[in-house]
Each structure stands twice: as C-alpha cells, then as structure tokens.
Symmetry: D2
Subunit: 350 residues, 4 copies
C-alpha cells in the first residue's frame, strides 16, 4: 500500500535523526532552556526577520492551537474561524474545552476575508444585547488552509488591517506553512507573515520533523507568561532539546523550504496528471493536498494500491478525494500514481 493519505506517514528527515544521534549523550537542562532550543529560536527569529519575536516549541497542532487561543482570550470572548478551520472540525472540541466558543464563518475554499471579519465586528457591536453574545476577539486562519488554498499578501494585509481596526488579534495556524511558502504563486514570505499577524506557528510535524510546532509571537502584548500556558496545557516537553534539535536542523541550510518544495513538486506532478486527463478538482490547491473528483469505481480501483482520503460525496457516482504528498514522498510512488491516473482516464474514455 502506497500512502498518500496524509503528510505524517513516515518518520523524520535523516538529518534530524543524525543530529539526535550525535547529540544523544550531551546533557542539557530541561523544558526548552537548552542551547539547541536557543539556537533554533535564533534561527527562526532571523528567518522571520523579527529579532524581538518570542519563539516557543510545542509538540502538536491541537495542543498549539489551544495553548495560543486560551492564552489570548478572556472567558467571554470567542475565536472567529472558517467553518472548515481545523479548530472548528477536527480537534474534538479542544478549544471549547478551554471555555471558548468558535464563531464559524462560511467559506467555500477554506479562507475567510476582511469583509467577513468586519461583518462579525459590526454584527456584534450593533447588537443592543451584545452582552448576551460571545464577544469576537481573535481571528484564526490557517495557511495553507485545510483545502490546500493560500492567502495572498494583499488578502492577508486586508485581514491585518481590519483586525487592527476592530481590535481583534490575528493568529495563523501554520501546521503546513512550509507547503504554502514553497507553492507556486505564493507571494508571502516568512517575514511578511511575521509582520502581518500577532502570532503564528511553523509546522514541523508535517514537514520533516518527528513532531513539533514552533510558535512565533510578534505582538508584545501576547508574550507575557506564555511558558506557564504551555506547561499547564501539557506542551512543555521535558526533553525540550528534541524540539530544539529538530527546528535547528530544519532552519539550517534552508532544509525546511527544500523539504517543502519537494512535496509541492510531487503534488504538482500528480495534479497535472489528473488535470491533463480531464479530471476536475474541488479546490484550487497549489500546495501538497490535492482534491480531484473521481468516479466511485475509480476510487475503488486506486484504493487497491494507494491509501488516500475520501473527502466528501459529490453525487451518487462521484466523490472528492484527497491525495497528500509530503517532504518524503518517493518519486517512484508519484510515477506509479501518474501511470495509474492515465490508465483510469483510458478506461473512462472507453
């Protein structure tokens, strides 16, 4: 079985394992106060072009989202998100478990826009009984989104601007951030992202690390006591060095972007194969997740050899599926898939 079902099917990039080997016997203090973490923090600050940013390392995405959001909101405040946002769908109510409502916005492509945010603001504050309603205070976006789509620089600037006007904090879930940075047509640099939001994170789990997410806090008002929050929410790894070593490796010699680019190339090859054989896509993704629409028999055929995600039903005979590439996707797997896509197309045409 060849797995295109997600981007966390393998271990870690070999350079990371090597570094774990090399450093294994070095003794360090715990909880992220070691030199590897210090070095990784510096590399990330540099990559973000913000020498004043606070950088923290956590283990996983759900943990990171809850820690950031719980740290920012007062009890009566909520977080605005696309209805398809990861926090709104696939975190078993982790945000609500911290006491906060998610205020979902409709979205056809996983993105939300400045106008919607302004609408949320106006609806709340124009309501004479707004004290009976959860107060919007934080805007959550993911980039790339859960559908592989990307925010442009101008879109993010518009969101930033409306958040400033409304007094909202803006956070970016970057669980797949590298795959966005490396995508064709992307016009957002890491430095842009650091400047245009209050807090974001750089996903390691899905891009070459065994696990790990690097939180970057650029808004000084959000920096205070964040380590208490990490500890309380179970994210302060005793052997924090393991996170430091991983991110140090990823941010040395451009490895993070190199790995991201690898996944994008594989995804584009697969996308082109579907496209040139007449398949349509549910979402226009330039990143490592591709959502072609297939006939159910085609899905059945491919399922014999590949694992991938059945995403949603289109009609009785067709469904959207997701093919996911990653930093470690093998060329021969992509080639095999491309061949099989072509075969599907031939069968279709018969």
């Amino acid at each position: 079985m060849i797995r295109f079902e997600n981007d966390y099917a393998e271990g870690a990039h070999p350079r990371i394992l090597e570094r774990l080997m090399e450093t294994n016997e070095v003794q360090t203090p715990g909880y992220g106060t070691d030199d590897y973490c210090e070095s990784a923090r510096n590399l990330i600050m540099e990559a973000c072009g913000d020498p004043t940013a606070d950088v923290h390392f956590l283990v996983g995405g759900t943990q990171t989202n809850t820690t950031i959001i719980a740290s920012i909101l007062r009890p009566h405040q909520g977080v605005v998100s696309a209805h398809s946002g990861h926090i709104a769908t696939h975190e078993t109510g982790a945000i609500e478990a911290t006491g906060h409502k998610i205020l979902p916005l409709p979205s056809s492509d996983g993105k939300i826009d400045a106008e919607q945010i302004r609408g949320v603001y106006e609806e709340h504050w124009n309501d004479a009984t707004h004290e009976h309603v959860v107060q919007p205070a934080l805007v959550y976006i993911s980039n790339p989104t859960e559908f592989g789509t990307l925010y442009s620089k101008s879109e993010l600037e518009a969101l930033r601007s409306v958040c400033l006007e409304c007094g909202f904090t803006l956070m970016i879930d970057g669980a797949r951030l590298g795959y966005g940075l490396a995508a064709e047509g992307n016009d957002l640099s890491l430095a842009d992202i650091a400047k245009l939001c209050d807090v974001f994170y750089i996903g390691g789990t899905k891009i070459g690390a065994l696990f790990g997410e690097a939180v970057v806090i650029t808004n000084p008002a959000l920096k205070k006591d964040f380590r208490y929050m990490i500890k309380q929410r179970g994210g302060l790894l005793a052997k924090g060095r393991i996170l430091g070593i991983q991110f140090e490796t990823l941010f040395t010699d451009g490895l993070y972007l190199e790995l991201s680019k690898h996944a994008i190339d594989a995804a584009m090859t697969i996308r082109n194969a579907f496209e040139s054989n007449g398949f349509e896509f549910k979402y226009q993704s330039k990143t490592n997740q591709q959502f072609p629409i297939l006939h159910n028999e085609q899905i059945e055929l491919l399922s014999k050899k590949y694992s991938f995600h059945k995403w949603e039903t289109v009609n009785e005979s067709e469904s959207v599926v997701r093919f996911c590439t990653s930093w470690s996707t093998k060329a021969e797997h992509v080639e095999a898939l491309v061949e099989d896509i072509e075969k599907l197309a031939l069968q279709k045409s018969k």
Copy 2:
C-alpha cells in the same frame, strides 16, 4: 558540568534511536493505529498480565495526568492527592484548568495511606452540607513518589481495598515506575500494580525514551472514549508510531527494567557514599532520587562541578538537595561524585 539535576538530561537509549532509524521510511497510518503501537500495546499487556487492559501512549506526564483525571471525574468531583503530589505542585494548575479541585492530604514522605482515604470519605459524607463541598471521587498516588519513596504491596492493597469500599477510583502516576520496580526491597510487580489500581501509567520520558507515557486502563468502566480525551487534550501524536516504536523497544528483552536497574545501582552507590561519610537524608529513598542534607558550603563546592537540585532549606546552614540518577548515568560521573563526597567529609572532619 556533570548533571544529576534530573532524569531527563540526555536523549534516548541507543536501541530506540536505532529502531527509529530502521523504521524511518516505513509508511504507517497516524495517531497510534500503526503496527508498532499495536505490538507495544501487546507487550505491555503481557508485562502487566492483563490481556484485557487498554493501553494508550501519550507524550508527557502533565498531559497524561490531566487526560486521565478529566476523563474520570464529573464536574463536582475532586481528586485526592498527597499535598506533595506532582499534580498538586508542579503542573501549573493543569488539573484545576480541567475544572477539578485537588484535595490535598498531609504527608511527610510523599505517600498517603488507607486511613487517610477513609478519613476523606467520612469527612465528606458525614457533613450534612456535603453538597457544598467538592466530592472526593478519585485517589491519585505516585509510585515512586516525588520523594523517591515506594508503596509496599500491603500498603497498595490497603489503598485498593478502601477505595473499593468508598467507591473511589485509584490511579497511579508512574512517571518513574521502572525506578520503583527495580528498587531493592520493592515487592510490587507490574502485574500487582495493574491488578491493584484502576488506571496507571508507565513512564518512558525518564526511563530511556525520548518521551512518552503508556497509560494502562484495567477498570473496564474507564475505558470508554479515552481516545477522544487524548485528542481533545492535545496528546494524540500524529506520528504515533514514534511512541509505539519506543515502548516496543523498552518492553523487548527486558530493556525497561534493565535501564531502571542501572539508575538504581548508580543511586545506591551515591547514597552509600553519603551515608558512609556521615550525611543524613531527608527522605528514605531506595530509588533514583536521593535527598541528602548538606551544609551550604558543601553545596557551593559541589555546585562548581555538578548540577543538582536545591530541594528545601533545613536551617540557616543546611539544606536538602536532590541527586538524580537515570538510565544513562555514566559510571565515571558517579565515581567522580563519590570521590568528591569523600573529600567533603574529610574537610568536615578537619
């Protein structure tokens, strides 16, 4: 600087890193549904002598404690703990953050006993206004305790018995469980522990793993939906295989106990050095944490070469310190320390 300050100063046992290397390119499904986890679960069930137990892998101790406790208690219920219990002291209020009060009991050695538990029960239910008071429902003990002390089999049986009578659930925090199992004089096997409590966990972070805690649920009433709880509380590692591989390795060929024994031997050597040179101890620990009482000048002297924990003040001139050994403590470090202890004693006698 030679570190005896904790038992998580190094990476992982080489056999674990090797296995991570070997398996690195194998593709697996995520979230603990892979074969390595399955195998590790089986090995642990076997080691516990309970083929019906549920075994789950989480990342760290605070996360594990909150997940277990939040899973068990209804909102008006609290968890009984020694006032020195880890959940009561060093988890930044993680339990309270799940909505539950910790009901602390006095303890001079980190342990609580059956009589105290019965007292909690009676005090609550004899109170005519008990509905105004948090209802005790769960008993938390750590074994070894935070002071390195151990429960005997008869003590644990007595706790089990009183919990059954009172309708309380009994959980054991085994973050350092191996160090208890391997200690001289210990009469509790893993199978005893599995039988005598409702849920416990086997610490990996402090005993040879990069990280990881294995939760063993033996009481069927507590098994339902535990994976939802892990996910909600941020503990469901995407690449769950990494936990599976680590625990599979630790529970193959007796590695877990072998590593534990290594730490105990080192600790006993250090203990004997202190003892035979006339030092007293705050706690009577047979495990990997040792708590000698030193003069402040002695502490200063040792601090130049060793890192260790200043635990608590005895009086103006003396303090309790903690020396911690681990699965990876080096013989030459122990020898150096023993020599320096002897030098201290000589200076004292002058």
Copy 3:
C-alpha cells in the same frame, strides 16, 4: 411606553407576592430543604404524573441550561441544538464555558427533527476519525422555540425514539413552557413531556414568578449529585424557600396554566389584528411571541408608543419584529395596539 418587548417586564403575580408577605417571618432551613420547596416539588411531580421525578429549583434560564448540560456530558461530548437555540445564541457562550461544543443544526422555524438527529448520529459514527470530532450525546430543544413554534406530540415522540436508538439524552428548555401548553392546537401535556424526555424545565421567570425555573429529571441515570452541580454553578439559592413559595403558588389551583392562557389570548388578539389587516408573519407562532413583517415606517410609527423587538431585516424597506405578551399583559394595552395596527393598515391602503 407600552412594553411588548419581552415577557419579563413586570414583577410577579400578586398571589405570589402575597404568599411572600404571609410567609416572610417563618424561619426555614436554607438551600431548598424547606417545606415550601417540598410542597412545590410534590405539586410538580403530580402535575407531571411522575412520582419518581427529581425536581430542583434554580434562578434563571442560562444557569439552568448550563447546570443541566454540564451535569450530563463527559468532556469530549457536545450538545446538539437548532442553530437558533437559546444556548447557541444568547447565553454569552455559557455552555462552551463549561467546556462543551454546541453542534448546531439548521432550522427555519426553531425546531429540529428526528431525521436531523439521526443524521448527526450517522455522520459521527460513520466518520473513521470520529475521535477527532466532538461526540454528540445530548439533544437540546426548546418548546416553545425561540420563534414561538411548538413541537407536536408525534414530533416529540419521533425525537424521543431516535434519541433512544442513538443513545442520546433529550432535554427540553421550557423557559416558556406554559405558553406552549396553553396554546391552541398544542397536543402535549406536561405528563407527555415528562415521559418523552430525560430532563426538562418549567419556566417561572416568564410566567408569573419574580424568577425561577423548575428542573424535572425523569431519567434516573441523570439524578445523581445534581444538587452539587447546582451549588457549583451558583444556582443554589440560600433562601431557597422563595423559589418553593413561587412554584407552590403557580402550581396551586392551576395558576400556571391560567396565566399562560392569559398571555396566549392577548397574543392571538394581536396576531389576528395583524393578520386581518394583511400583514404577513415570519414564523407561524401560536404562542406568546408574534413575528409580523412590517414596513420600516410602520415600525417607526409604532415605536413611538410601544417597545418591541426589531428581530431581523427582510429587505431594505421591511423587517420582522417581535411582539411579546405575558401573564400580565393588560387588556387596554392590547386594545390600543389593535387600534394602532388598524390605523397602520388604513395608512397603507391610502
């Protein structure tokens, strides 16, 4: 200003105030353990035809909803509600503040149906990754709904039946329950309601009391420790007798239904005035809330003399408004309004 803006604009029915006067100097124990509460509980059990029900008195609706819901759900579980349900809209995230997600269902009239519930069940349990999603466990409906609409007996039976099949608990928010019971065409008795759900409450605040909601728990599995939950959530009134006296009065000589009927008669008079003058309604309500569609100038005109709620915008020139009657609506106020409606219609026809 004549107020039709809500059903809590006045104090309490005079009989209640009289009883408070009469009993004022009697000394009672606190927290609902007095004889008035006992008597009220018995009257309500009798009215519900369930001598085994548990009856508890709380102060307000938000408090009652949170207490019931927090008492029932485990942390990873959520409550299904119409998107327009009071808990989903106007309680400042009180449910989320107890840690639970509300799973909203679309509804055009404030009601949800058995098929939707089955859909929720299937969607959850057919999802291979359902552990990443909040588990539905409780169904919340309000009757009358926030739009004044009512469940029929057969609709409620269908909901009950699907909840039993799915293992869901069914609760009814009866903040305006009397106005439903007294409505024309209603075929649900208090005994039916008690039999067809697991827990519900009988609103006092909006029907003759100064304040107060009577929770009726019929499912034995939900009865345990409910008083702890009331206390923890701030709802255990020290002078609980005040709640007992009020509900005793409301459930003596049919006062509760008599007051409800009074509001319904007033509402129907107003409805008929709108209807016979050609106004349309947004919701087909037979209860004390009426939602006619008015031109904005008509709204402006009526606003000079009456207070009522601007509910929602229809288009640039028209809006839905809400007129609310209550147990204490004065005949002369209704007559005045009817006259003014007729005047509006005349102006319109000019």
Copy 4:
C-alpha cells in the same frame, strides 16, 4: 424550633416587600438596565464615596465570587485565600470549575496578613521553575471572615500596600459586610473599603434582602466587559429590577446599617450571656456569628429548642458551635436563649 443556624432563615425586610408590591406593575426593560437599578447604583456609589465605581447586582455569593475571579485571572493564575475562605471550602469547587487553583494560606482566625502575601509572592518568584507552578495574582479575603472576625483599617492598608507592590489584585467578599461595618470596634467605613481594594461586594442575601449581592469595582482595569461575565456565569437576572429595588431600599435612609446593627446587638447580647456564664469562645468575633465552646450535653439540651451549627470538635466532650443572628432576629428569641444559657451554667455549677 428557634433558628440561630444561619442568617438567611427568613424572607426580606418588610420595606423591601412593600416596594416590590408598589412597583409590581411598572414595566421595565430587563437585565439591570431599569431605573431602580440605576438609582440603587447611584446610592451605592455615593455610600462608597466613589462616583466612578462600577456597580453590578448579582443573585448569590458563590455566583458573585466565581464571576469576579473568573473575570480577573488569566488561565495560569490562581487566587490566594485563607484556607478557611468560603471559596476554598463551601462552594463545591466553583472556582476550580472556572479553571483556577485556590492557593490556601494557614489562618487561625479566618484572616490573612500582608506578610503572608509577601511570602506567597517571594516563594513564587524566587522559584527557578515558577512556570511549573500556578502564578498568584489575586488575593481574596472575606470581611467579616467565616469566623466572624474583622480586618482593621491598618491591616487592610497593609494588605493593599503589599498587593500593590506584588502586582496582585485585592478582592473582598462582603457577603456579611454590613455586620462588619456595624460591629463595635470596627474602624473601616464603606468608603475605606472601596478605596483599599480593587473590587468587593456588599451582601444583601444575609442582610435584609430576599437575595442579592452588589459588586463594586473601583479599579478601572477590572471594569471592562463585566456584564458579559455576569451573563455567561448565569447571574444576569432577567427581572434585574428586583435587585435594584432591593438595594435601593437597603441604601435609603440607612436601612442597611440599621439592619446590620440589629443583628450585632442581638449577637452581643448572646455573646455576653455565654461570656458572663463562663463559656469560652473559639473565635473572637464582634459580629453576628458567635462561636462558644459547649459541652456535648449542653449542645444536646439546647438543640431541643434551637437550631444552630455544630462547627467543630474540640475534644471528646466539647465542641464549638455557631450561633448566628440576623437583621430579623427576634428579641424574644434572644431573651429565651439568654435564659437557657443561664440555666446551662447553673446546671454546670451543680
């Protein structure tokens, strides 16, 4: 049975019931936005000598404590309290249910002092691993305390001063505030209290009202969005007017202090009777709660005619009991008790 068991055994002061009668048919908007509340707020601001204070009305004490505390603290912060503080003992973990740990301090008389607070501060910030420990941020005191004792002006000034130095917020639970203000030897005025803490509340439930607590927020930093918090925590009474009417009445013509004085006089008469007959007291209370030490047979004898609280066991033959007077304690009941105390003493002397 004559009740001295608490100070909420009767209804309300007749003037309050009269006002409820008089105003019963007046229509008002809901949720505390009516003129009665406005008037009551003004009277309280005036009594506090702070025209900029925010005044809010809630229903009960537990609700008020949780709302204030949850409004102030960030998730990783805790509230310091005497171990005997009401929030730490008799609120079913309501504070923990908002996610916050209570940091208890030892106290022999229900009070805590500035030195203890400084100790909490230093212990936390001198701990190198303070991020693993709940951060103290708020100091809760009750005045009078749960044992009837009072803070002097200089003690409160010292607390205020240390809180300012440490960056802690200071709140006062004034559930029995009037009984403190009216006590002999008290040197704190309402204006002093308003000036010396950040937020406090004036208890109505125990001093003449049917129910109700008036929160006074003097620190501008704590004022923002407090009404959202009240609503979320279930304390925003629909018919808020009932709270306004009650506090307006209590703060007109000095009724609040007059009622408080009544209780104090009765308590002092009872105290003197015990004292002059040779009984000792557990706590030196000048307020409405008295804690004499009685022989168990004496307790049994008195229990036939009076209800009062068995507070705590002294030894096999003696216990502390609590006699509570209130705004409504009847002279004849006090006289009867005094006679019976004298009889007890005679029997003892035989």
